[in-house]
Every structure is written in C-alpha cells, then in structure tokens.
Symmetry: C2
C-alpha cells in the first residue's frame, strides 16, 4: 500500500496522482471524511464540485460537503434541512420574546417617566429600543 | 415521447417503469427538481437514498434533497452550511439582545421597587424573567 495516497484514492483503491483533486482536502489520516461524501454525493460529483471552484475556495467547499454528508447520514430524511428548520424556529421564538420585552420596556418607561429620579433611565431605554431590531433582519430559508 | 414518464426518466432519456422510485417525487411538470438533485448527487445516489427509507418518508427526503441541491447550486462553496452559519449568527445576536434586556429589566425592577405604585409591575417582570430562557436552548450545529 502506498502510504502517500489520499483518503479518497485509498477508499477507491486507485493510485493517487500528483495532481489529485482530493489530496489537499481528504488526508489519509482522516478516512471518514471521504467515506461520508462518497456515500452521499459519489466521488465523481465531489470532484466535479471541487474542480469548478478556484483553488482558494476548495477547502471550504470540501468541509461544507463533509458536514452536509454527515448530516444526511445522521438524518437520511431531512439532513441539513432539519437543522435549518430547528434554527428558524429558535429565531421565531426569540422574535416573540423580543417583541414581548419591547412592550414591557415601553410600559416601564411610562412608569419611570412619572418619577423624576427615573429620568436618567430614558437614554438607556432609547438605546435598547434601537438595538432590538433583530426581527427586521430575519433570514428566511424559503425566501 | 411518453408523456407518462417522470421528470427523472425524461431527463435520463429512459423508459419510466411502473415501479419507478422517482415518479412519486419528480413529476413531469416540474423538471427542474430532478435536474438539481441529479447535478449535485447523481441519479443513482438519489435513488439509493430514497430506497433505504420507508415509503411514507420518501416525499420529505426528496424535498429536502431538492432544497440542499438548490442551495449547493446557488452557493457552490458553502451550500446549506452557509445558511446554517447565518442563522446561528442571528441566534447569537438574539441571545446578546436578550441578555442585555434582562439586565435592563432587572435595573428597572430595582427602580420600580422604590415606588409603591410600581409594585404591581413585579409580577409581570417575574413572568418575563421566566420567559427569557431562549439562550438556554441554543442548538449548536457543531455540537
């Protein structure tokens, strides 16, 4: 066995050429990375995806393909999409909490305004109102 | 051309057998769905992914594969992982806003407590403190 072969060429039982598209991203000491992408995408599709990218972007692409493949193996029905749905639900929950809190702060401001010593609070509360703009930037998966 | 062929068999220029694994999920009137998954996963890998699932889960699996393929086509470097990173950043931003708001509410409670007519606020504020538990349930992609 040629110890210099990358994990992909080892898995595919073939020689590892000097210009192997896989060798920078699938080192022989981490064989599981290629096993996952090979199982989900197939070697030729992974090679095509990497070849269409400039060299400096291929490492990130290989890493994201490995992550997506691992999620598809762990959750064959939903894969990454299951996690995206969960995260979007967490964002919706956060938006509800922020909206409720905005209303409570507005109520507290009206109470604080009745007391002179509470005047110093108003600046903080105005800053807070400006910060609580999270829901305006909500990213939609299906958008 | 056989108008009864599914989008997959049309794209692959082959007969569409009565037990075609693709026909329930890739109707002929929506050809782009199969074009995307074929480009990213390959027909045989999509068929394998669907065949390993019980019938009642295959529609969701086909839909999630189409979504992931579309994201990979739109973003060949990061695919779905790019969106997951964006959503996780939005959740971290929301957690920071909630933590800041918790601190401000605690400060306002201490101010309100100095005024008898503010006593009625305390129940609401306690409820709010119980609600602001979002960050305790933060889902980590890498977890």
């Amino acid at each position: 066995m040629n110890p210099g072969r990358c994990a992909a060429c080892r898995h595919l039982r073939r020689k590892c050429p000097p210009d192997c598209i896989f060798i920078p991203h699938f080192p022989p000491n981490v064989p599981q990375l290629f096993v996952s992408v090979h199982r989900i995408y197939g070697a030729s599709n992974v090679a095509k995806l990497l070849q269409q990218l400039p060299l400096h972007l291929r490492a990130d692409a290989a890493e994201s393909l490995c992550l997506e493949a691992q999620y598809r193996i762990e959750d064959p029905v939903y894969g990454c999409v299951g996690l995206i749905s969960l995260l979007q639900q967490q964002i919706l929950d956060a938006e509800k909490q922020l909206a409720k809190t905005r209303a409570e702060i507005a109520f507290l401001k009206s109470q604080a305004a009745q007391h002179p010593q509470a005047a110093a609070l108003r600046g903080n509360l105005s800053d807070n109102a400006a910060d609580l703009s999270f829901s305006d930037h909500h990213q939609s998966f299906c958008g």
